[in-house]
Subunit: 140 residues, 2 copies
DNA sequence: CTGCATCCCTATGGATACTG
DNA sequence: CAGTATCCATAGGGATGCAG
């Protein structure tokens, strides 16, 4: 389900600008939401970062992503695998051995995420201050 | 609560690379999670897109962001305001008039989000195919 | 080792009546 | 108009026992 079939105009200067001009918020907003949903949730990012260094096994992930439960690790891995972000390789040995690897598009995704990290770093202070100020006004 | 106080090293090439080198997943992962959390949730992006065109009033937002409830609109606006992404201006008139405007850092944020939109567009097909294939294997 | 099944609890979000 | 307060449904996620 959810195959939206979006036809985006060839040259985009900036999503906001485009949205403002086209009077079509939903297109950009939905595209964005799709990818955000993919990396939101408490664990997806942690898992991808842990897997970025190369093939990693289930139990190693469990240790690398601190605080994750076995259930959530499995669930998140399945979702990532379903979206084609993680490849799961089973070695038919005993005891079982399974390796998880990032796919190329996952690495590409993370490159894109880098600009968000950059934004967060640039504005960390401003955000912290905004919060303090907001809370101060709310508290009294 | 949650004032992490993160000290990030000055020059970052790529989050993955850094994570792989520093053996410190948590820093990048957390920074990323912070900003993701800020724009995740069902409504934040829709509201920001709607507000991108200029000052917008509460009721206008309610109409612009289709499907949102009054409660969630209020809550999401408060969060965005607290993080310094939206400025709330009250005009002391009757009936009340309140305008919401994006702050500069919110516009900057959206510029950064653009690369995610781009990624989603580049890989929409690949993801759809991955899902079909995954579901096919799971179904039988 | 890997990971599914179960139980349970909490946070998120929907609907809507009420107020300054 | 611009919210707040309240009630309720559901999904996300924690803990953990069991199995291939």
């Amino acid at each position: 389900m959810s195959q939206r079939n979006i036809d985006v105009s060839p040259q985009v200067e900036s999503p906001w600008v485009q949205a403002a001009r086209d009077d079509d918020h939903s297109v950009e907003a939905c595209t964005l939401m799709d990818v955000i949903d993919r990396v939101s949730g408490k664990w997806a990012i942690g898992i991808m970062v842990a897997a970025a260094r190369g093939p990693i096994r289930f139990t190693e992930l469990e240790r690398a992503v601190s605080g994750i439960s076995r259930r959530m690790l499995t669930l998140t891995l399945r979702n990532l695998e379903r979206d084609g972000l993680i490849r799961r390789t089973v070695y038919p040995v005993v005891p079982p051995k399974v390796e998880y690897t990032l796919t190329p598009i996952a690495e590409d995704l993370y490159e894109s995420l880098a600009s968000l990290t950059s934004w967060a770093e640039r504005n960390r202070v401003a955000i912290a201050e905004a919060r303090v100020e907001y809370d101060a006004r709310a508290d009294e």
